[in-house]
Amino acid sequence: MTAKMDTVSYENLIHREKVHGSLYTDPAIFQAEMETIFHNGWVFVGHTSEVPKAGDFSRRQIGKQPVLITRDRDNNVNLLLNRCTHRGNLLCNRTNGNASTFTCPYHGWSFGVDGEMRGMPMLQAMGEGFDKAELGLAHVPRVGIHRGFIFASLASEGESFEEYLGDAKVLLDRSADLSPEGEVDLSAGWLKHRFKANWKMLPENNTDGYHVGSTHSSMLMATGSANSGAFNDEMGDPSVIRDWGGGHTELDFAPRYRMSGRPFQWFGGTRKSKLPKYMAAMEAAYGKEETEERVLAGPPHAIIFPNLFLAELNITYFYPVSTNEVIQYYTPLLLKGAPEVNKRAMRQTEGAMGPGSFLLPEDASMAERNQLGLEALTPEWMDLRRGLHREHIDEENGLLTSSVSDETTNRAFWSHYLTMMSKASSRAGSGC
């Protein structure tokens, strides 16, 4: 092989206190990310509650690749590549539903929801000794499920699911532990929002406490919370940001909630008396003290690298499309056994999330303006030094922690990104 493989030196583009603008605009980097992070790494795909009954299916993507989440008659959750094994037709073009089989409209091959081939018209032409088992749908090689949250990797080998999730699995636990049945329900459907911006702006922004006071000032004004001091560490907001390792990051509001001493600050400050059935079910399941603690601390606000955002009572994920386009999805985090909460959670999600909400349109506009600004090649770097001098290991949990307006979470994202990308790039380089 004579052609020199084009390898990017990520070490030169990513420093602790700054990252290079080309990371958001270079098509070669985007291709490498798709391969390394979205196809070979672990990504969030969906939740088992989206396919509650046998035959239920839901269409998804892993990176660029179309997949189906299905539940078969044996109650197994399968992740199948949505591609007919004959000549590649998109097998299922519905967003979700229930089916006993998937039949490809092109030549009529049919498959069970477990992926096995069921039949084809005029089978004789396949020759003697043909075994239908050969032509079942491809399964996604590795699937990991925690508290119903489904993650997958298209690589058959690599870091295990447990290693990938690491300590951050307690963040998923914190979401599910708000249900008296210990289970969340993501069955309300997904809002889909197009950002003309690089995908990395989403995980970077979603645990960025610094932007809220400016980007979302109109929301704070409209709802009368503009001067609350929230998100402003100089005005005493004790919320913190954390690096959970593995690119997982958190913006933890619990310290603010605790300071208020009042439960449900994450739920519009609702009084306990307004949610009597929920409180009773929680206390029956977990006891009074534990329930008090959970409704005080609330759900997590955290990123599970790369594409899952536990946004308090909302769940968000995204698919990158190109260097300057990404689609973000939103659904309410409904809690099994908590209809009182769920009814209002729907309305809370509509207020906060989605293209017509009071929050996310500003995030989309800012991401798009970032992308446009980056067309200017000077200065080359984006500055990420906020809080470098004061971030510290929290002795309680051993995690790198800092104030709400610092950029510890951005640095955590980039340091993991660098680890993944430079490992893959040195493998590619040595192959030449």
Partner: protein, 161 residues
Amino acid sequence: MVNEQVFREVEAFIYKEARFADESAYDDWEALWEDDALYWVPTRPDADPEVDISHIYDNRARIGTRIRQLKSGFRFSQVPPSPMRRVVSNIEIISVTGEEYEVAANFMLMELAIQSTRDMNFWGGSIVYRLRRVNGELRLFYKKIMLVDADEPVANLSFLV
């Protein structure tokens, strides 16, 4: 179902509402609404707002918040407001109950996302309005906008649709 004069009156109301929305005339638009308002953008024609998430599901109080936010000058996704023009057509009166009219229409809307991408976004779908005559004047208490692509990825919907 209604006489020509009432039909023209309903039609004129719908055109006025469209013009206020096109021109981001926030106060004028908000003033059209009754207290039992519902401004609703579902994701599917058969959506049940109690179990299916909606893009927008504003009661009167939330319409107020929406307008206050737009008027704050810091609703950055609408600073400046999108230049827009819409055509409302295929107007049919579906039902009349006393002094209330349920009206169906189609619309097409060109919206320029001048705040960031400068994309010309093309929106369209059907609308159901519910109007009520109060002291001789038509007032709006329900507007359901069923976008053709409501269940697809869409750009910011923070203007008045």
